[in-house]
């Protein structure tokens, strides 16, 4: 939420007011979401429909985790499902081969994914933009092959789990992971740490020249993304009772979670969550109405998202709010009382730098 609740004098555009009001009450909204979510199972949600809501939580965590790296820090990972797979395999192996109890096995999934993230990050975080994306895609594909060939991961047939807790336990585990991550993201994006991530996204060179050791911050964001992706992967592995290279490193989900973050609004906290809930429901509706065609629908949604809504719903709203605000205040630049005597007009704005909407006086 970039709406800074600054002690702004003078009126603010209506949309900007709404947004900053929402962002002030973000904590309240999050609490509401968790409360309603916690209530659903007692209100009779079960069976197939419970799996639908669980799927929404899973994708929300995946999209939000991707956003920490892709949206906030400007490093668009194309291989986040690798951490999901590491988490799923960790829990499956701990449960099945080492006889570890359910909760410790799931809890271990996150840290294991973080260790992998650290090792991988040291290499791939040196690349940027499209090449970082390709490298992470390569990492994901290598992970698929390694899991298929190693004995301890059960090779191509994967791992089967039998004695696992009832579905309600899983429901609360997934809700908890989402709630914790949303809270962490909400808090971090308002601290210096969050600001520095955005600085790295906008101009890493400038951040370095301001004394920021960008490697630490990038790696931290990458590991945080891996932590939650690993956790949700671990919980999913047990919930699905079956972990094999194809599903644990699901190439389709890998793209779907990015689309959800983009549709919602990369670089915000609410965006990825709303995008995940919306798209998961849409896919289920398409699947029940014309089974078999949901994948074509997904492909079309991905294309439409990139072409029409690159900033996503929340992103576009914020953009609009900022633009409206400029009109109201930008017109008489620095209308504020402290304006210096000089007939202050914006400098001769260079055409290609200034945004066309900027009123050129």
């Amino acid at each position: 939420m970039s709406g800074e609740s600054a002690k702004a004098t003078g009126s603010r555009s209506s949309l900007a007011r709404v947004l900053s009001a929402l962002s002030d009450r973000a904590w309240l909204l999050l609490g509401l979401l968790v409360a309603v979510g916690a209530m659903l199972p007692t209100a009779g949600l079960s069976g197939f429909y419970l799996t639908v809501v669980v799927q929404m939580y899973i994708f929300a965590v995946l999209a939000l985790s991707w956003d920490l790296v892709g949206g906030q820090t400007g490093y668009p990972s194309f291989g986040n499902m690798a951490f999901f797979g590491f988490g799923a395999y960790t829990t499956a192996i701990l449960l099945k081969d080492w006889g570890v109890a359910f909760f410790p096995a799931v809890l271990a999934a996150g840290p294991v994914a973080v260790v992998f993230a650290l090792v991988i990050g040291l290499a791939v975080l040196r690349l940027r933009g499209g090449y970082f994306a390709i490298a992470t895609l390569g990492v994901l594909l290598v992970s698929v092959q390694l899991s298929r060939n190693f004995e301890f991961t059960g090779g191509a047939s994967g791992k089967i789990l039998f004695d696992i807790p009832p579905e309600n336990t899983f429901y609360y585990v997934f809700l908890a992971i989402l709630a914790v991550e949303a809270a962490v993201a909400l808090y971090l994006t308002r601290t210096r740490f969050g600001y520095v991530l955005n600085a790295i996204r906008d101009d890493e060179g400038r951040a370095t020249a301001m004394g920021v050791n960008t490697t630490y911050y990038k790696t931290a964001a990458w590991m945080l993304s891996a932590l939650f992706t690993g956790w949700v992967g671990g919980a999913w592995g047990a919930f699905n009772t079956f972990v094999d290279p194809q599903t644990a490193y699901n190439l389709g989900w890998n793209v779907e979670l990015i689309t959800m973050a983009l549709i919602g609004g990369a670089g915000t906290v609410a965006g990825p969550i709303l995008g995940a809930f919306g798209l998961t429901l849409a896919i289920f509706v398409v699947d029940t109405v014309f089974p078999g065609w949901q994948l074509v629908a997904l492909g079309l949604v991905i294309i439409a998202t990139v072409l029409l809504l690159p900033d996503g719903i929340v992103g576009t709203l914020e953009e609009r709010a900022a633009a409206m605000e400029y009109y109201e205040m930008g017109g008489e630049a620095a209308a504020d009382s402290s304006a210096a005597a000089a007939d202050e007009t914006p400098g001769s704005s260079d055409p290609d730098v200034g945004d066309p909407e900027v009123s050129d006086s």
């Binding site: 940027r128 499209g130 090449y131 390709i134 490298a135 390569g138 793209v255 492909g299």
Partner: protein
């Protein structure tokens, strides 16, 4: 002895990888997008051949010449598909951030694959073209004739494209747009049309290669991803925009994969080629021959 056999197997298939990679490199270099749907274009080419052979009296038409006759048809069909894809869709993304082009083309690949599944089911099919005695033997090395034809076919397609780019006016226009779209526009080149032609050519060579793949192996809707990813490795290895680089890269990748299959175990071939992709990006982003693949970061 076994070594030469594996290397020969590798080269025979490697030529196909090279032809696909050349199309992939062309799009990356000229239009500036990474086309994750490139493998699907190959798949469509394969189905063109499969259906033409099936409909041309599948029972009688077992001969190789009928199959070869379908290659030009596949080229033309995929050229049209490529041209349309560029005009309708890719133009909006051409100068967007590289990452967004990855996403859009992935969406396209999902749609193409799913439509293929809905239309022809996901069952693998092979064109039964074959020879009476399928292999010729040179110094103890077995070379299936059908694969030899596919090898020369792929090399021919690659050289044709290279010649086209080198000699014809349109070819020069394409290379001009590759180096500097603005300058090209200044000297009167219709950049949008040129990019569409480039996409058409890239799709055509992928489709033609697909025909050969249908002849020597099999074709099914899900086959595309493997060829796209091999193209990645080859282009990153051979360097962007360099057709000789892609050719050498393709032959090398084919050999590396077959040698791995021969000496280590074929379940490791994919692990090797994908690790190659990551390592190459980190170590030598500019590849062996071509222009640096690395983004010109200020």
């Amino acid at each position: 002895m076994a070594l030469t056999q594996f290397v020969v197997n590798g080269l025979l298939v490697g030529a196909l990888f090279a032809a696909v990679a050349v199309g992939f490199a062309l799009i990356w270099g000229v239009v500036g997008i990474i086309n994750l749907a490139h493998g699907e274009l190959l798949m469509l080419g394969g189905y063109v051949t499969y259906w033409l052979v099936a409909f041309s009296g599948g029972s009688g038409g077992g001969s190789i010449w009928v199959a070869l006759a379908t290659v030009p048809v596949a080229l033309a069909a995929l050229y049209a598909v490529g041209y349309l894809l560029q005009r309708l869709l890719v133009t909006h993304v051409a100068d967007a951030d590289l990452f967004l082009t990855l996403l859009v083309t992935f969406g396209v690949s999902i749609v193409l694959q799913q439509l293929a599944i809905q239309a022809w089911s996901a069952t693998p099919r092979s064109v039964g073209a074959g020879f009476a005695d399928p292999s010729i033997v040179i110094a103890g090395v077995f070379i299936p004739k059908i694969k030899l034809i596919a090898f020369f076919g792929a090399i021919a397609l690659t050289l044709l494209l290279w010649g086209y780019l080198r000699t014809t006016r349109r070819g020069r226009a394409i290379r001009a747009v590759a180096q500097n779209p603005e300058a090209a526009r200044l000297v009167g080149i219709d950049v949008a049309h040129t990019r569409a032609v480039t996409f058409g050519l890239s799709a055509a060579i992928a489709g033609g290669t697909g025909s050969f793949v249908a002849m020597i192996l099999s074709v099914q809707p899900q086959m595309g991803l493997a060829y796209t990813l091999k193209s990645f490795v080859i282009v990153v290895f051979g360097g962007l925009g360099s057709i000789p680089g892609a050719l050498v890269g393709g032959l090398l990748l084919g050999s590396v994969e077959e040698l791995t299959a021969g000496f280590v175990g074929s379940q490791w071939t994919l692990a090797v080629s994908f690790s190659l992709l990551v390592v190459l990006l980190l170590v030598k982003p500019s590849g062996l021959f071509g222009r640096s693949v690395e983004e010109g970061e200020g």
